[in-house]
Symmetry: C2
């Protein structure tokens, strides 16, 4: 954030047309003057609206200290295309300008063969080695998120000596959150804030000032776990260590904000029956790939419901025909209740506040579903009775509804708990999966109970 | 974060029983020794598992610099109960220890009359005035989120003078992200990082070092907008100003992390048909209040579907009865497609990347739905034809399915766009609302088209 910033940015059609015009006219001077006003995140938004050729034109025009940051902010699809249009040498120049974490992220997106070519072109040997190290960590681990840039001091130093040495290190670290204190073996001892250092007397020893026993995460830790720890303890940066407590890097809160946003989007999409990371601007084929499998699941469920209803076809005479007309209602209620109860459990699991036994959860959901079910069934009973004047039918339908709602609630509660225990992301349970299974089971239960009550 | 921290914390039943035992025995010494090992966020988790009497016991036992932080981390329901058990004087003592933003948040949760009593008991006059100011800002505005604590310097100062003066201010600011530079009229000119100050020569003027034209937000700005700006520009703190650019306070990224999490949870719950901020540990009555209205909507929709099917009753006898057995399938597909397309739009709107005209969105969704619909319908056609051997019926059902899916997709796309234009949160559209309306419309369309094709 060393640039001048301007929050009044608005991505308008007029602005995009202006940029396109300058590109067409190859009016580099005006284009540069126009874009220099904007923050790199804003320029990235503009480039996302241009075609590839235009975007590459802008990237080649601007200085690499800006374009490297722009690249990190581009839409993943667009970045991939832009990088394809750049030579390994050009990409390496962008990489030189980036912090190690962003640099490694971009390189990791390249095809295997290109990765080597780009790395070979990086001139700064230390930067190169650090990026190579970061590329060895698995996706979704703390290692994949951390940066090697940090300010490190030894416990034996004094405040004055420390300040001198920090001046050197700090210039290459964008933001200094904490100063990490290590011992001779490079093991993390604790940390200091820059503020503590400024407030302290010059002659004091670091070992007197250091806060020991600080939070750190293992390099293999899952990123979601890291996000939870940082959010819970309100940390703005956390040091990353190996199993020997050797300081390897640090993770900053801005990366965690991105992780949290991605997590939330993924869960939301999964609940809506969309897999993979798609957005509204993706192609029809990409969107189909994300949506069709879940719709197909729904179709199979619908065929299941058909088969059940066909099995009860014999009932389709006289007064009992009315039972069939309530199947969409039964299916809808089973689906809605299931989604509600699974959503509550999924969210509770994500926040680590689902405690106590599975049984007590199920009993609570059963009582809850029974309460809701009885209220809804009472209403339905009065409607059917008033509308059709058939007490028995009204009773059969209403009693079944209560049973269906209770079972739907139990399934909605049990399935995510079960998946979680098996190590499967429980978020998959809220959505088409639970709706479909509840639809089928609900309809089966409904006909079965109604048939019993009506004695047909 | 001045405390020693320990991430190995695990909330176990054994731990809770240990705490409960010490409370029962009134073994204050052991209890204090045990809890002193933990971070305040962990102690809050423990207290959330205790009963009110026990929790209050612990709060009264520990020092107010720890308990004030614990209070901010408690579950809202539990905090309310604990605060009820404390006197105005006791609450004021906790408040004295907190930053202004946390202090104002806690006071805002108290009943009106108690707020005055607590404020009157705050001894630090400056703290009191600042909290009173913060309480005047509306919920969901930048003002409600900001803290008054910040480090401020005047543009006319030198680096050396600045460092001296900062030492004083910094002691009361937990984390120094940026140093805000103002002119004589207290208007925000720009900012400096602590790092810049350390790296700079002592005799330089602040006005030479300051980064001008920095991001700031108006005190009336919506918090979601603030979150978007901070996430987009990777900011860790943002200054808050009034319309005259007078510096009023600052918002830090940890508050934004909380806003983002709450937003995500709210949207997720809304998509699942749950209103209000409930979690799995809430009472059955609270959960019913959050869930029943949506279920009732589903019930009304189901009755609508019943009325439609009844309207077609006379028309279907003999072989056409099969049409009724596919209504759950049709309703499920209409619901699923609607939820998928609305989820994509809702998320796009949240990320500000739904651009272009409504018409082009609708055309894209129509093509997408048509593609998905044809694939699914083909499968259904083959199933019905093979299973029943009735070409016409198979054709009628399949063609209707395509039409239903296209209409469902269009409604799912249009409704959130329409709500958004009207200033209503579009997230309400993903969930029971869209499922229910699509169910009814889908079934109506299905019978209508099938009837036409079969010529009955």
């Amino acid at each position: 954030m060393e640039e001048s910033e301007n929050i009044q940015f608005q991505l308008t059609d007029v602005l995009i047309e202006q940029v396109e015009l300058f590109i067409e006219q190859e009016n580099d001077k005006e284009l540069k003057a126009l874009l220099d006003e904007f923050h790199y995140a804003d320029i990235a938004e503009i480039l996302d609206e241009l075609n590839l050729e235009q975007a590459v034109y802008v990237i080649k025009l601007l200085d690499s200290d800006t374009t490297s940051d722009i690249l990190t902010e581009l839409d993943e699809d667009n970045r991939e295309k832009v990088l394809k249009s750049l030579s390994a040498k050009e990409i390496a120049e962008e990489i030189e300008e980036l912090d190690t974490d962003d640099a490694a992220d971009i390189i990791a997106e390249l095809p295997e063969a290109r990765q080597q070519a780009v790395i070979a072109q990086i001139e700064d040997e230390e930067h190169k080695e650090e990026i190579k190290e970061l590329l060895t960590y698995d996706e979704n681990t703390a290692g994949s998120l951390m940066a090697k840039e940090l300010v490190k001091v030894y416990e034996t130093w004094t405040v004055a000596g420390c300040m001198r040495r920090i001046r050197g290190q700090a210039e290459e670290v964008t933001r200094v959150h904490s100063i990490y204190v290590v011992n001779k073996e490079e093991k993390l001892i604790g940390r200091l804030s820059l503020k503590d250092l400024i407030v302290a007397k010059n002659e004091r020893k670091i070992s007197e000032l250091v806060k020991v026993n600080v939070d750190s995460v293992n390099v293999e830790e899952n990123v979601e776990e890291v996000a939870k720890i940082m959010a819970k303890y309100d940390l703005e940066a956390i040091p990353v260590v190996d199993e020997n407590k050797t300081l390897l890097g640090r993770i900053t809160i801005d990366d965690i904000v991105d992780v949290l946003k991605e997590e939330a989007e993924k869960d939301y999409q999964m609940a809506a029956g969309i897999t993979g990371d798609v957005d509204s601007d993706d192609t029809i084929l990409e969107l189909t790939r994300a949506r069709l499998p879940w719709l197909f699941l729904g179709l199979v469920g619908g065929i299941g419901a058909f088969l059940i209803m066909e099995g009860f076809e014999g009932l389709f005479t006289g007064k009992a025909v009315i039972l069939f007309f309530f199947t969409p209602l039964i299916a809808a209620m089973a689906g809605n209740v299931g989604v509600q109860s699974s959503a509550i459990i999924v969210q509770g699991l994500a926040n680590d506040d689902v405690r106590g036994s599975v049984n007590s959860r199920l009993i609570k959901e059963m009582l809850l579903a029974a309460l809701n079910g009885v209220i809804l069934a009472l209403f339905l009973f009065l409607f059917v009775w008033a509308f059709k004047g058939e007490l028995n039918t009204a009773l059969a339908i209403s009693v079944s509804l209560v049973a269906v709602i209770i079972v739907a609630g139990l399934i909605g509660t049990f399935v995510p708990l079960f998946l979680n225990k098996r190590g499967i992301d429980p978020a998959i349970a809220t959505g088409p999966f639970i709706t479909t299974s509840n639809d089928i089971l609900g309809i089966l239960l409904y006909f079965w109970i109604a048939k019993m009550i009506l004695g047909i």
